[in-house]
C-alpha cells in the first residue's frame, strides 16, 4: 500500500492523495442515507440496470461513473422517483421509498439541461419548492436569496432564466435544489454542457458547497477526471451493473476489472503466464534498450507511436512479449521534436513489481453468462 501515498501525475492532471478505502466514518447504528438493493430496470428487451446494490453514507459525495448507456442515469432517476425499478428496493435513511412519487421523496435533482421554469424569474424558480410546500413568503424570500448568494448569484432574483449564461443557469438549478434542504441531492451530469474552464471552476465550487451544506450528493458523470477530483467514493458502471465501488485513489490505482482499468485511465492490460494485470502509464519508465533497469520488472519493445501533449508525452510501446503499453512521461527536459524522434526506437520499459494490479474479467461479462 505504500505506493498509494505517492503523489503521481496522470495526463497532467493532479491526483488526490489516497484516502482510506472505507466510506467516511459514521455512527454504526445509523442506516446508510441511500440504499439500493437488487435494483433492476428494463425497457422492453433492453436491460438498463441489471441488479444494482449500493449503500451511500450520509454526507458522502458519491459518484456514479460510466459511459453513456451504462445505467448510471437510470439509477439516479430511480432514486429520484422518475422511474420505478422492476425489481429491488430503494431506501432513503432506512425508509423504503420504492413506489413513492418524486414529490414525496426527500431528494432534489439538478438536471443536465437545468430544467429551469422559463416563465418564472430566478427568484420564483428558487422559491418554487418552498412555495408548493406552503412555506411562508418571508421565509421563502430569505432562504432563496441565501441560496442564490451561496451560488454567487445574489441580486439575480428578478431576472429571467433566458437572460442568464449557461454557468449561471447551472447555479440557479443548484440553488433551487439545495434551498429545500433535501436529504440527498442528485446531480445528473450537471456540468456536461459547460466548457472546460467553467467546468473545472464549477467542480471546485460544487465540492465547496457540498462541504458547506453537508447534504449527501449523488453525482452522475461520464468524465473520469471529474469523478476522481470531486468524489469521496465512486461506483463505476458498465452495461447496467457496477464494476467497482471505492474511493477515487483505489479506483484509479487498484482497478478491479479490465473495464475499470480502461475507463478510469488507460487500458494498459497485459497477460503474462496466465495472469492478467495492469500498470498505470505514469508508473512505467522508458529506458534505453540496453538498460537492465535495476530491480524493475522490464520488458523490451518498440515505440510505435508518440503523442506530444504539452505537459506530457504519451508513448505507445509494442512489447516483444505481446501486447501494448501506454507510457506517459512528463516533459521535464524533452522538447517536442526530441519526443517525436523516438518513434520506431527499440526500448526497454520497466516498472516496480508492486505497481502492477491483477484485473478480473469484467463483471458485466459474468452477468451476461449468468442468466439472472
Amino acid at each position: 500500500m505504500e505506493e498509494t501515498a505517492a503523489i503521481t501525475v496522470d495526463d497532467g492532471e493532479r491526483e488526490r492523495p489516497a484516502e482510506s478505502p472505507e466510506p467516511p466514518p459514521r455512527a454504526a447504528a445509523e442506516p446508510p442515507d441511500v440504499r439500493l438493493a437488487g435494483v433492476r430496470k428494463a425497457y422492453g428487451d433492453v436491460v438498463a440496470v441489471a441488479g444494482v446494490d449500493l449503500e451511500i453514507a450520509a454526507g458522502e459525495f458519491f459518484t456514479l461513473l460510466g459511459p453513456s448507456g451504462s445505467g448510471k442515469t437510470t439509477t439516479l432517476r430511480m432514486i429520484a422517483g422518475f422511474e420505478e425499478p422492476d425489481q429491488g428496493t430503494i431506501e432513503l435513511a432506512g425508509r423504503d421509498m420504492t413506489g413513492l412519487p418524486p414529490y414525496e421523496r426527500e431528494v432534489n435533482t439538478v438536471f443536465q439541461d437545468y430544467a429551469l421554469f422559463p416563465h418564472m424569474t430566478v427568484g420564483d424558480n428558487v422559491e418554487y419548492g418552498m412555495r408548493v410546500s406552503k412555506v411562508g413568503r418571508a421565509e421563502r424570500r430569505t432562504r432563496a436569496s441565501g441560496a442564490l448568494k451561496m451560488v454567487r448569484l445574489g441580486g439575480f432574483e428578478e431576472r429571467k432564466p433566458s437572460m442568464l449564461s449557461g454557468g449561471q443557469r447551472q447555479r440557479v438549478a443548484l440553488a433551487r435544489a439545495i434551498v429545500n434542504r433535501p436529504r440527498v441531492l442528485l446531480l445528473d451530469e450537471p456540468l456536461g454542457a459547460l466548457d472546460l474552464k467553467l467546468r473545472e471552476q464549477m467542480q471546485v465550487e460544487l465540492k465547496g458547497i457540498q462541504g458547506e451544506v453537508g447534504i449527501t450528493f449523488i453525482y452522475v458523470t461520464h468524465d473520469q477526471d471529474e469523478a476522481l477530483t470531486m468524489s469521496d467514493r465512486v461506483a463505476v458502471f458498465n452495461q447496467g451493473g457496477i464494476e467497482q465501488v471505492g474511493p477515487p485513489a483505489e479506483i484509479y490505482e487498484r482497478p478491479a476489472t479490465r473495464f475499470v482499468t480502461g475507463f478510469v485511465g488507460v487500458s494498459n492490460v497485459l497477460e503474462r503466464d496466465g495472469t492478467r494485470f495492469t500498470v498505470r502509464p505514469e508508473k512505467i519508465r522508458l529506458l534505453e534498450a540496453t538498460d537492465d533497469g535495476q530491480g524493475l520488472h522490464t520488458e523490451r519493445g518498440v515505440i510505435r507511436d508518440v503523442a506530444y501533449a504539452g505537459m506530457v508525452t504519451r508513448y505507445l510501446v509494442q512489447l516483444d512479449g505481446g501486447g501494448e503499453l501506454q507510457v506517459v512521461r512528463q516533459n521535464l527536459e524533452t522538447s517536442s521534436s526530441e519526443a517525436l524522434e523516438q518513434r520506431g526506437r527499440q526500448v526497454t520499459v520497466g516498472w516496480r513489481p508492486e505497481q502492477t494490479v491483477a484485473v478480473l474479467e469484467d463483471s458485466a461479462n459474468t452477468r451476461m453468462e449468468d442468466p439472472q
Binding site: A80, G81, F82, P101, P102, Y103, V107, N108, T109, F111, Q112, D113, A115, L116, F117, P118, H119, M120, T121, D124, Y128, G129, R131, V132, S133, K160, S162, M163, R176, A177, N180
Partner: protein, 279 residues
C-alpha cells in the same frame, strides 16, 4: 444580406401588389357601407350613415351575429378542453396507436367541409335521430376547431423540455400543482393563439354549418342569404365592415401576446405569485 437596387425595387413592388390585392376589396366594402345609393355602382354617388342605423335595428342581423358568437365561443371552449387533453396525451405519454390518434385528430381540417357536413348531417339525423340545432352546429365546428388547438398546444409541448415537469415534481409539486404552475403557464399563449384561431374558423364557417343547422342562422349564413337581395345589400356591407373592425381586436391581441412572449424580460413573470396570492 445586401440586395441590388433592382431587386429591392422588385421586392417593394411585390409587397405593394400583394397588400393591394388583400386590402383594396376590404376598402371597397368599407366605402360601400357609406354609399348613399342602394345600388353598387362605382364611384358611389354620395355618402350616408343611414345603413348603419338600419343595420343596427335589423334584428335578423343582430340575432345572427349573436348566434355566431355563441356558437364560436362554445365550439372554442370545447376545442380548448378536448384539444389540450389530446395533445397532452400524445405529447407526454406513450401508448399503443399514439401516432394514429395524432393523425386522426388532425384529419378533419384536411377533409373537405362538404364531406364533414354531409357525414355529420347524416349521422345526426339518420343514426342518432337528433334534431339539427345550434348544438349540432357546435359539434360540427368543434371537429375542426380541435385541430388548431391541438396543433398549437402540441407544438408548444414538444418544444418545452419535458424535464421542467419532472423538475416541478422533484421539487415537491403534486401533479395538479405541476399542471397549474408549470404546464399551463407554458402553454398559455399557445392556448390563446389556438383559441383565437378556432373562434375565427368557427365564426366564418358556412359549409358545415349549412348541413348541421336547424332553423337559426349564423352570421355567415345570414350574409350569404342577403347578399343577393338588393334591398339588404347595403346592410350586408355595414355588417362586413363591422366584422373587419371587430376581427382586428383578436389579431392585435394575439400579435402583442406573442411579441411579449418572445421578449426576454416579459412582464408576465409572476404568474405563480398571482395564482398563490390567496392565503
Amino acid at each position: 444580406m445586401r440586395l441590388s437596387r433592382r431587386s429591392t425595387a422588385l421586392l417593394r413592388g411585390g409587397v405593394a401588389v400583394g397588400l393591394a390585392f388583400i386590402y383594396i376589396p376590404l376598402i371597397v366594402i368599407a366605402i360601400y357601407a357609406f354609399n348613399a345609393s342602394a345600388i353598387l355602382k362605382w364611384p358611389p354617388s354620395g355618402l350616408t350613415l343611414d345603413w348603419f342605423s338600419r343595420a343596427f335595428h335589423d334584428s335578423a342581423a343582430r340575432d345572427a351575429l349573436w348566434t355566431s358568437v355563441r356558437v364560436g365561443l362554445v365550439a372554442t371552449a370545447t376545442a380548448l378542453l378536448l384539444g389540450t387533453l389530446a395533445s397532452m396525451a400524445v405529447a407526454r405519454h406513450r401508448f399503443f396507436g399514439r401516432e394514429t390518434v395524432s393523425f386522426l385528430v388532425i384529419l378533419p381540417i384536411a377533409l373537405p367541409g362538404i364531406v364533414t357536413g354531409v357525414a355529420l348531417s347524416n349521422t345526426f339525423t339518420q343514426v342518432l335521430g337528433v334534431r339539427l340545432s345550434l348544438l349540432t352546429v357546435i359539434v360540427g365546428h368543434a371537429t375542426f376547431c380541435i385541430v388548431v388547438v391541438y396543433n398549437n398546444v402540441i407544438a408548444r409541448l414538444r418544444r418545452m423540455s419535458g424535464s421542467i415537469e419532472e423538475a416541478s415534481a422533484d421539487l415537491g409539486a403534486d401533479p395538479w400543482q405541476t399542471f397549474r404552475y408549470v404546464t399551463l403557464p407554458t402553454m398559455r399563449t399557445a392556448l390563446v393563439a389556438g383559441g383565437l384561431l378556432a373562434f375565427a374558423l368557427s365564426f366564418d364557417e358556412i359549409i358545415v354549418t349549412l348541413f348541421t343547422i336547424g332553423s337559426q342562422k349564423t352570421l355567415p349564413i345570414w350574409i350569404f342569404e342577403n347578399l343577393f337581395r338588393p334591398n339588404e345589400l347595403p346592410v350586408v356591407n355595414v355588417v362586413a365592415l363591422t366584422l373587419i373592425l371587430l376581427s382586428m381586436i383578436p389579431v392585435y391581441l394575439a400579435h402583442r401576446l406573442t411579441r411579449e412572449e418572445e421578449g426576454a424580460a416579459g412582464t408576465r413573470g409572476p404568474v405563480l405569485r398571482e395564482a398563490t396570492a390567496e392565503p
